[in-house]
């Protein structure tokens, strides 16, 4: 815990100075294990609001498939940064969404009921479809400091996998528990 707190402070102060974002790189299995809900759907109705001193953008996702968690047709989640009135806050590495685009979202709800995407943009995959395949793709995240589990800086290369593979992987992780 002490090491974690130190790393967090370190990263936070770097954010003051740069300012910047520091993430811990999570693989697909990490995203699956640490999420409380994984859904596929389209994002809409996004709007900014203050939460303390920080601006968050709160969005809805219309769910077409629940890959983890209780089946639902709608969910709300928040991402840091956004605009309230004429004040804008920018957060490096925070995801944004395009209307009409389908995403796979790895969501996490805190004990206080605050739902966010895991690891900022790490938990947002765009679904790209061909006649035969649907692939979930996440581009490499720029403008952030990415650390591994030991606190060493690493490069993010993005991620991609077919939805079929993702479903299988999730089933395997579920069986393994």
């Amino acid at each position: 815990m002490v090491r974690f707190v130190q790393v967090s402070i370190l990263c936070g102060m770097a954010a003051i100075l740069a300012p910047a974002t520091t993430l811990e790189l999570l693989g697909i299995d990490g995203l699956i294990d640490k999420s409380t809900q994984v859904v596929r759907g389209k994002v809409s109705n996004c709007g900014g609001a203050y939460r303390g001193a920080m601006i968050y953008t709160h969005c809805s996702v219309t769910i077409v498939e629940t890959l983890k968690g209780a089946p639902a047709t709608q969910a709300r989640f928040s991402v840091p940064g956004g605009k309230v009135s004429n004040i804008r806050q920018s957060i490096a590495g925070s995801p944004d969404f395009q209307p009409g685009v389908e995403y796979v979202l790895f969501l996490w709800t805190s004990p206080n009921g605050f739902t966010q995407i895991i690891g900022l943009s790490q938990g947002k995959f765009e679904v790209r479809s061909t006649a035969t395949t649907q692939t979930a793709v996440r581009a490499a995240i720029g403008d952030v400091t990415m650390l591994d589990g030991m606190g060493q800086e690493v490069q993010d290369a993005g991620a991609r996998m077919t939805l079929t593979s993702l479903r299988q992987r999730m089933a395997n992780r579920s069986v393994g528990k």
Partner: protein
């Protein structure tokens, strides 16, 4: 602690070569970067105060709020020891997390529920009225907010 300070210095060094928050006043032609930064000419002593929210993060035995605050203040000292920087930081005090947002140029260190894979994030708040004046050399930061995890 030495390791923390050494790492802070190394990150501060890296950070100086890159800046995420830049706006361009045109989509075509020569792109002139317009950074978001504190207007130091308007800040007494060119010193930006930072405030720490009173929301206590989860701590394990052996950790304490006092030591957490101490480490944040030590991190600010590392910055202040960089003599080539015009910007100075000073501890402004503890601020209630429920206090109204103040747009006196300052830094708020807050604690919130950060999801797994997220160690910290922060960013400036600026006026966004839909465009940047072509003669503007920078966009003044009203407030910079840093979120640290309050959960473990």
């Amino acid at each position: 602690m030495k390791r923390l300070l050494a790492a802070l210095l190394s990150i501060a060094t890296l950070a100086s070569g890159h800046y995420s928050f830049v706006t361009y006043n045109t989509r075509t032609g020569t792109l002139v970067p317009i950074p978001r930064k504190f207007d130091l000419s308007a800040i007494p002593g060119r010193t930006v105060q930072f405030f720490i929210a009173d929301t206590a993060p989860q701590l394990l035995p052996g950790d304490s709020i006092a030591s957490l605050h101490s480490q944040i203040r030590l991190a600010a000292k590392v910055w202040n020891d960089v003599d080539v920087s015009d910007l100075r930081l000073s501890f402004g005090g503890i601020r209630s997390a429920s206090a109204p947002v103040s747009f006196t140029p300052s830094i708020e260190v807050t604690f919130d529920d950060l999801p797994p894979g997220t160690l910290a994030y922060g960013g400036p708040q600026v006026v966004d009225d839909g465009g940047v004046n072509s003669t503007q050399s920078f966009i003044p930061i009203l407030l910079s907010v840093v979120a640290l995890p309050r959960n473990n």
